[in-house]
Symmetry: D2
Amino acid sequence: MKSINLAIIGFGRIGQIHASNILTAENANLKIIIDPLIEDNAYSNQLDIKNAKGMSSLLELDNIDGVIICSPSEYHIEHIRLVSQKIKHIFCEKPLGLTIDEIMQVKSLIKTNNLNLHVGFNRRFDPDFSKLKYAISEGEIGDLHTIKITSRDPSPPPISYIKISGGMFLDMTIHDFDMVKYLADSEISEIFAKGTCFINPEIKKANDIDTAIINMKLENGVLATINNSRQAVYGYDQRIEVLGSKGSLRVNNKLLHGIQRGTKDGFVSANPQNFFIDRYKSSYEEEILNFINSIRGETVDSANVDDGLHALKSGLAAKQSLEQNLSIAS
Amino acid sequence: MKSINLAIIGFGRIGQIHASNILTAENANLKIIIDPLIEDNAYSNQLDIKNAKGMSSLLELDNIDGVIICSPSEYHIEHIRLVSQKIKHIFCEKPLGLTIDEIMQVKSLIKTNNLNLHVGFNRRFDPDFSKLKYAISEGEIGDLHTIKITSRDPSPPPISYIKISGGMFLDMTIHDFDMVKYLADSEISEIFAKGTCFINPEIKKANDIDTAIINMKLENGVLATINNSRQAVYGYDQRIEVLGSKGSLRVNNKLLHGIQRGTKDGFVSANPQNFFIDRYKSSYEEEILNFINSIRGETVDSANVDDGLHALKSGLAAKQSLEQNLSIAS
Amino acid sequence: MKSINLAIIGFGRIGQIHASNILTAENANLKIIIDPLIEDNAYSNQLDIKNAKGMSSLLELDNIDGVIICSPSEYHIEHIRLVSQKIKHIFCEKPLGLTIDEIMQVKSLIKTNNLNLHVGFNRRFDPDFSKLKYAISEGEIGDLHTIKITSRDPSPPPISYIKISGGMFLDMTIHDFDMVKYLADSEISEIFAKGTCFINPEIKKANDIDTAIINMKLENGVLATINNSRQAVYGYDQRIEVLGSKGSLRVNNKLLHGIQRGTKDGFVSANPQNFFIDRYKSSYEEEILNFINSIRGETVDSANVDDGLHALKSGLAAKQSLEQNLSIAS
Amino acid sequence: MKSINLAIIGFGRIGQIHASNILTAENANLKIIIDPLIEDNAYSNQLDIKNAKGMSSLLELDNIDGVIICSPSEYHIEHIRLVSQKIKHIFCEKPLGLTIDEIMQVKSLIKTNNLNLHVGFNRRFDPDFSKLKYAISEGEIGDLHTIKITSRDPSPPPISYIKISGGMFLDMTIHDFDMVKYLADSEISEIFAKGTCFINPEIKKANDIDTAIINMKLENGVLATINNSRQAVYGYDQRIEVLGSKGSLRVNNKLLHGIQRGTKDGFVSANPQNFFIDRYKSSYEEEILNFINSIRGETVDSANVDDGLHALKSGLAAKQSLEQNLSIAS
């Protein structure tokens, strides 16, 4: 099996997750890490891997098969452009770009340079969700009728993040929009969103919402709904239900442990795993293995530039729907 | 404890359920049953109770404390008008009337005759749903943020029924609209509905839908969603989830039995109770006891004419939303 | 359908349950209630049924088809003997007798008088347990290998009761011994019991135990275990698991309600129904309907004198095993 | 943090698991692997680690902090003796020895050489079971009364293995005996075992059983029961329930996935994880980290020689009980 050489650009929280997954992957090597603050990074210093502050160190190398871009979102397009001169296999964290124009530029780069570009919609690689997708596509529930996603964070992010995130539909729901497309194998064609601010008035001041219920119609006729909250005190709530002509499929939460306690006040089960990095641990592992396999020439399923475009368009349509109280074609 | 004398008008399926619940209630007597086809009714013939074909037999009696109206919906208003001349305690099955105008006439009758009129939104008396309401009102989950109702029938009603029912929002969702108001203690102020026909093209020919996702905003700011289907092959699906600032509450389905079978193909649990009369058996018992208690002078919670009006308005707004693809104030 | 006339002897808690179930059964009449304290019984006074203090009032009647004996256990044999002179259909509450000798006398009476005698092992008529029995006998799990019963009371009975009950194996486990035979369709041939007193030293002073684990071998080779406690603070715990060559079947507890609450401390589900009369409500209804059907001449499954004998022998063997720390043939 | 150097003796299935866990542990190095067949081992060849066929290669090294012995059971004592001349930190897979005499020799070696010897009862490190132990010791259920372990393999091992394993009580139940001691913090003092052969007559020919129910009393008075089968067609069944004066705790199975499918035939959930290496993956990781931490001088909880002795004694007592149909002091 051919050994694959990888580079990582951006060594924050997600970059470190990818690094650790590369280190345990078979026949894959992490050759270089690029980050302007790399000198202060304890984890990278501990690894026996070349560290560099600037992109030029990466571009000088001749043995890199693929690059994983985890830099801040506003640099994604610049880094894709730089890398694509030399390297064809690129994994880029979501959001691919912050505007539709940016993503169209990426599309153009892909075409020009014949890139193999993966977008980091990691939830597609969650074992339960990918089994769910497979079961739907195998016809286990007949024709798909409705999709219902409950997606709630344990607690809101810092207000400073909310101010620059693009809002809940773009920083949080974007995952759920992609999941709807992934499961239904069809794009969202129309969105109606209701949202409000219940949890923290600072969120409202930042022009954002913390609670939303979204109604969607898909190109293939399927109806979908997303139920979001930035705060579920019982923990990170990530459930999906689909209904079809022959039955239903439900993905329940992954719990912190498997102990049930019985007392005079009832039976108590565990909260869900509370942090996205724990909950979606397997998905991060699988998406990088999938990227590596694609570099080896295997045909793989992955989220691509059109998925990135779809998710961004959906988020923007939801924002517009919220503002105008209208159903918006997306 | 004072003995209460009751009459039933209309002795179809629901009338017979009410009769059987009166027979087992303490200190309550069923004195007369009015139904044009009463002579052919095996159940009424078996009971040792006065049967009559016409309303005059009821109006001649002087000892009736309360009347339960289960006649076809188009006769509700006429029967309320006739009965209210003499009897102040009236329980009327839903829908109270088929138009807003009809219900306004009932309102007027109530005022003029000082009626104690209960509307048969039986699900309010389901033990789980009434516990849920109580838990919300006691603040168990803090401030209420969202309500999510999944309400699916096991299979569609006959097309002949669909043609005259007023459509899915009026024959099926109307219960869910009432549940939203009941749980939130607030009226629905705005409705956006998406619906389609997946299950049977005959339903579409009858100008109706069989699948819908509905998005609501309430007067108190709460957001709600209803997920309807006329066909869930796994059985009658009646679940509710509410989310609040301090937690969530979920009512799960009642299952046919408590056995779980483990085989090489997984663990199999029972389907939900499959018929509304089984699933909501307790609610029918409780709503009649509640009516009897109100006749005795107790202060009780019951659905009243304004609840009937609210549910009808909600159903009509949902229809309008579906037709116009707009969010409709209700 | 022939109308069946019934008498009840003994109108304590269980007698009243049977009465109320007869009242709602179709084509069944409760003609007379015999109880020495009947004059003071509010419930019987409210019913429009003949009450009497002595057995002679019953024996004078000529239209009684069946008798239900719910008198204190020490009178069972005497009442069976008296009744059997005249009436062939007898339902007797458990324990049929307090000694093996007594039960052998009942066997003799049955033979001599050709009696149809049912013993009140009501749990056989619990819908879940009878479905479990049916599934086993239909081969759903192939050959039966093991039975595991968890049977725990919410709290101990009064010490005064423990002193006269014959001990935990006879007042509580006796139901479980019968369930083992019922499910396996085979008698227990050998018993090893470990027991101790954890909950209340008064129980030990009364020469009894409150906690036991019992190990059984059946005539057909099946292994079984019973896990008893007189106190499960989380409520009445009545679960059964069976394992066979093709799978397993589990009967879970019936819960007080179907609401699950999610908070930062986990998800809380309801306690089990806490009182045997609630938990086994359906079983009491079904066992009397079954008795009525047998009077009509239907072939029914019911617990008979040999089941009563088996359960008593099992209880006595368990006591002996506990005392001698030996495995006892039963 | 001091870097720890480790050696592995025996590179079969378990040796490879430990190796892979050492590779991902921080500041731990696997310096040498000893196995007579090491040259043919694909995994070891792939690792950049010294391989050797004989023990002398290990004993020549001066920088080894701890040794992990995964050789066949009959070599355990020999390898402990050889290693303990030079190295004080030894992790030995269970069973520590095949006879009580062998384990007593290990005890003597520990004393003489002041060894830190861990025994590989990995299940103690399962996250759920260690949480359960912690909850019991923290008094969450008050005084402990009973322990109920259900421990069933998905399918029997090869007959060839059964012939040399020492029998089900020593190859399978031994884990459960250790779990009883671990949870109760008390030794088993008395065992009564019933067992039989249901699954495969070859197992009987090999003088073994495949199904057992075991009844235990502990030194602290707690009662316990173990329910074993070599074949649960629904999968690897590893559940524990404990009952105490203030409540109960249950550890349920870990499932293969979190999807529930609803069809007209019920709701289907996943089977348990089917292989001990998957089910107890975390426990293998944790027990090696625990061993490494103990080398660093941390005070840790681990299974020691007395635990090995206890488990072996329990298994032998169960065998004797089965043969003699008596309760055996262990």
